[in-house]
Subunit: 201 residues, 2 copies
Amino acid sequence: MPRTSERYRDARREYILDAARRAFARNGFHATSMHDLFAEAGLSSGAVYRYFAGKDEVVVAIVEDNIRQIGAMIRAVTEERADGSFGAALAAAVETIQAKHRENGLAGIGVQAWTEALRDPRIGAAFEELLTGLRSELAEVVAHYQRTNTLPPGPSAESLASVTIAILVGYIQQLALLGPDAVADVPDALRALWPSSAVAG
Amino acid sequence: MPRTSERYRDARREYILDAARRAFARNGFHATSMHDLFAEAGLSSGAVYRYFAGKDEVVVAIVEDNIRQIGAMIRAVTEERADGSFGAALAAAVETIQAKHRENGLAGIGVQAWTEALRDPRIGAAFEELLTGLRSELAEVVAHYQRTNTLPPGPSAESLASVTIAILVGYIQQLALLGPDAVADVPDALRALWPSSAVAG
DNA sequence: TAGTCGAAAGAGAACGATCGTTGTCGTTTA
DNA sequence: TAAACGACAACGATCGTTCTCTTTCGACTA
């Protein structure tokens, strides 16, 4: 018979993750020690280790959540805008990412997560799943724009989806490194590159 | 009066950096210890520390070289192809990057460097310089394509340059994470997106 | 309903391991 | 032969983690 409810445990876990996110966004995964994390959360080591088996588990939890966030944002925006132009859908995705980044530093965590994916098999697998899943889903969206002649019919929908992902990933990278203001004009460029009217191919 | 020539010292330094690159590409900057580096180079700590003041200096040297490589490749390709189509120039840049990655794991080091740029001010400054310099140079190239009606005249050349950088950065990211085969069809997509003929805008 | 008991939560000191770095001493070469 | 190179042991610091002890709170009992 547990002393506390499951709701309490979940809330506590989330509280620790929030503190970890702040600390990690400030100094990076590796440069942030567990003691830094304890200080940021205002808790002792014993308290934190009751909810996470180790530092790796904290990192993985944060990265997996970050993956889920980014994936969900891209999916939501591109699908709901399937009737507008391709450029407008892309611009909307970018603007959503930017807004989220301003409030919780999404991009910084994301960039760090990509590097971690190269080393940690668990994170690597999660990213591969995100990217390949996103690619096939975006391929369907892209195919729609190919049929309506706003994207060239020549290349495969999958290859165009890869370019789409590249744009979003590269945008997040610049967002993290240069800040939101430096890339504020990207949405306009995307809308102009792929407007509603037909494009040569 | 030094025991050896300056040429010897330079060669030795480069030898150590090559070993470090291999070790870092395999395990990442942080997960690779100096002892790992000594083993990879087949040298003692004393030998390495005679050429580098510390681990940070090794990392910075490798990252700065990586920045120089990527910047040079993008500049060379986009400038020499200024008479072809924008898509062809982009595809050529991507193919050059892919070839280099196959031979020395360029993309993996690059992705790690981006993360390090968030934390180390020296690396961060180098990257900001690369990105902003590249952006203004690419803006001139892009402006050329805007004048010849192969890119829409509406958006600023700088904003289109940011999108161009995003594509290249995002491509490198996918190259590192998914491997060359998974993104082999990207060049074709780029050529199809921006062919020689005029594009609506 | 008040009191008691047991288990979970949390604090905090401390430990073992590892890492980056240094210092010493032999070796090599202009 | 003097100075740089290089090997190697070892050091201090730091980090992730554990262990012990106290505190807290829900459940059961009278």
